[in-house]
């Protein structure tokens, strides 16, 4: 025995209902559909369903409803707008399913739906904009901090180099150490902003793992020596070869973990081990510092959270950044610690082995000294002009200063230089435009290529990329240490030679 549905029941349904033939021409409708469309049943029957829609909804209907009906014989709750008789559009959700002899459809009024979706979109946009604003703010703060830092650090270096009288040299060392510490804090903020902004794309390159780790440990090793801590670095032979890695990210991970370990340890030792576990490279940093309760671990790994002890310093970005970096590289960060028993951080990274390096080129010689080399330095900040000029002159270079990019181009037109150091942000013409113009001129005149180092407080990865794309050979972050400047200069001059 079958029980037929009562057609009269459809009259009270709070949803528009229709039956249509194979070509979606309306055959029967309920009162609610008449109300939604502002038409009588007699007016509706015989119309194509498509004709009830606004023109833009007809596009949606043709592009997705028709396709879905052809492919799947039904659609569920598609958002469309009816063209109501009062010329106002009426948002609805459309459901259609195939029947033996055509189609059956339901049209559900969804007036709040549009407002809800608009709210979602607005909320998403606001969140994205807030994130971008924060990134811009941090980048601007960092830039502003770096400019005076360059002067402080540079002046400290110069005093330290020029005197061996104890009290003065000691004070200079204090200035340098404090400025270096400040720079590291600024770096922490920037690393984090860079990663948050999504600029932290992974760029794999073959590198010597041992070399990268050793270099990245240098800062922590010095700090450890100053605090009287033992610092041990062990690299297992099977982990020491060349691997495919993202060198800057790898350096950041090692630097952050070792810096933290030394910073929080007041006696005992810091030990760094690099080993291999199957396909993973395992970096382990262990210290004999205060350790922490594991319940704090989750908090430590969140940005802007800091350890429990009030004596601790830092922005608390370090561990969160390391975790993000490790995850970007396809690995992870593990923490094991107990309060009072030191901490152990383990980073696992799936670093594939790279082709062995080509036979090492002859050991690079220190920069050749065929008479003083001429350097053009474009920089608008007088303090930085003075500091970097002094460092360069101390290293035996002839230095000419230009106040901005346009002046630098004029000087380059007038006489040849061995090297150009270019600030990025300058009045009149910035360093990027000047570098692009220089490269264009060289091409047009078939002139030899003058190496350009972009020395700038714009240090986010997008700035590095912009510098290289403009035609710079290298990007160097302010503040600049004499060693870093010397290394960068000898590297670009060698490459150019």
């Amino acid at each position: 025995m079958s029980v037929e549905a009562d057609p009269g029941l459809a009259d009270t349904a709070p949803v528009g209902l229709f039956r249509a033939d194979g070509a979606m021409t309306l055959q029967a409708v309920n009162p609610r559909l008449c109300a939604l469309t502002g038409r009588t049943a007699a007016e509706l029957v015989g119309l194509g369903f498509r004709d009830l829609l606004t023109r833009s909804s007809q596009m949606v209907y043709a592009l997705k409803v028709e396709t879905a009906l052809l492919a799947e014989n039904r659609v569920d709750e598609i958002f469309l707008e009816l063209a109501a008789a009062d010329r106002r559009s009426r948002p609805v959700l459309l459901t259609i399913a195939a029947q033996a002899d055509g189609w059956a459809g339901a049209v559900f009024a969804a007036p709040e739906r549009r407002a809800y979706e608009l709210e979602l979109i607005a909320a998403r946009q606001a969140a994205q904009e807030a994130g971008r604003a924060r990134g811009r703010f941090l980048a601007a703060v960092s830039h502003e901090l770096r400019t005076p830092l360059t002067a402080i650090l540079g002046a400290g270096f110069l005093i330290e180099a020029e005197t061996d009288q104890d009290p003065v040299a000691d004070r200079a060392r204090l200035i340098v150490a404090a400025a270096a510490e400040l720079e590291r804090l600024v770096d922490d903020v920037l690393d984090f902003t860079d990663l948050e902004g999504g600029a932290g794309e992974v760029a794999l390159a073959p590198v010597d793992l041992a070399g990268v780790v050793q270099a990245a440990c240098e800062g922590a090793r010095k700090l450890a020596a100053a605090k009287g801590l033992a610092f041990r670095l062990e690299i297992a032979p099977d982990a020491a070869g060349r691997v495919l890695a993202d060198p800057p990210k790898l350096r950041q991970i090692v630097r952050a973990l070792t810096d933290n370990a030394v910073k929080f340890t007041n006696q005992g030792e810091v030990e760094v081990r690099v080993g291999r576990d199957g396909a993973d490279t395992v970096l382990e940093v262990r210290d004999t510092g205060p350790g922490f309760d594991l319940t704090d671990a989750a908090r430590l790994l969140s940005p802007f959270e800091r350890g429990p002890a009030p004596a601790e310093r830092g922005f608390g970005l370090g561990l969160a950044t390391v975790r993000r970096l490790a995850e970007r590289l396809g690995g992870g960060l593990e923490v094991s610690a107990a309060a009072g028993q030191g901490s152990r951080f383990i980073v696992r990274l799936p670093l594939a082995a790279a082709e062995p390096a080509a036979p090492a080129p002859p050991t690079p010689q220190p920069p050749p000294a065929p008479g003083p080399q001429r350097v053009l330095f474009a920089e608008d900040n007088p303090q930085n002009q003075w500091v970097i000029r002094s460092i360069l002159e101390m290293q035996g270079y002839d230095v000419v200063i230009a106040q901005n990019g346009a002046e630098a181009l004029d000087r380059l037109d007038a006489e040849p230089f061995d090297l150009v150091l270019m600030d990025m942000q300058m009045p009149v013409m910035d360093g990027l435009d000047a570098t692009r113009a220089l490269r264009r001129r060289e091409r047009d005149r078939h002139a030899p290529r003058t190496p350009v180092i972009m020395v700038t407080a714009n240090v986010m990865s997008e700035h590095v990329a912009a510098a290289l794309e403009a035609g710079a050979d290298r990007h160097l972050s302010k503040p600049v240490s004499p060693d870093a400047l010397a290394e960068a200069i000898s590297q670009v001059l060698e490459t150019a030679a």
Binding site: A23, R50, T54, R55, S56, S57, Q58, M59, V60, Y61, A62, L63, K64, V65, E66, T67, A68, L70, A71, E72, V75, E77, I78, F79, L80, E81, R114, E117, L118, I121, Q425, D430, L432, E462, H463, A465, A466, E469
Partner: protein, 282 residues
Amino acid sequence: MPHTIVRRAEAFGGDRAAILNAHAVHELGAGAPPLVLLHGFGSDQSIWSRLAPQLSARRRVILYDHMGSGGSDLGHYDAARYTTLDGYADDLVEVLDALDLRDATLVGHSVSGMISLLGALRTDRIARLVMVGASPRYLNDTGYGGGFEPADVADFLGMMELDFQGWARTLAPRVLDHPDRPDLAEELSFSFCRSDAEITRRFAKATFLSDQRAVLGACPLPTLVLQSESDAIVPMSAARFLAEHLPGGRLEILATRGHYPQLAAPDLLAAAVERFLAEHRA
């Protein structure tokens, strides 16, 4: 001061396999001259799954996904490149070059009618065009019935944005009713969920705001313009204009309705293509 970095999608550097991979290129059948099926806005190569097996009985058939659609590799998506249809036409030429296709027949659905036309103006690898539900311009103009007012298109873009989840969901119908070809079903499954609203919106703008009327006269290739009896996206006036202004154009009305004859009437469409190919042999 902000520095914008423009990265042109030059990533392939002529790397054949990379190009084919990035566009999820698939092939069926064998025999010359080869035929390329190009999907339109809002779908991907699986839109051809009712037609490709028939056409591939006699010739090599190639399918691929436009960048940003279906199984294409979004890593190669470049907003600047795909702001107009030219980027899609450049891609077409790259794919034809990578496959070293000659004397090819292009079957372009919807906006891909114009993409294949722009491709034909860039390379001599294309010998014939079949346009299905194509329009040289979707907006009305003085003396031209494109079908839409600018406000309609703006509303449409807004609706798409409002209901992107629903839109993406419905744009992923399983057009895969080929029990005899499970491999096809496997390979051609839609993957629209990966795509994002911004990409779809940009493609929609490139499509519905384009105007290719001025270049129609430059294409001498034999061109079959196929139009269904009733198409909400392309009015008959636009299809007629297209066929009349293409020097080698001929309009044929398919006895079916809607914008997707390859789904609604694949047999009719296949027969029309076979007749056209028989008339215009290599």
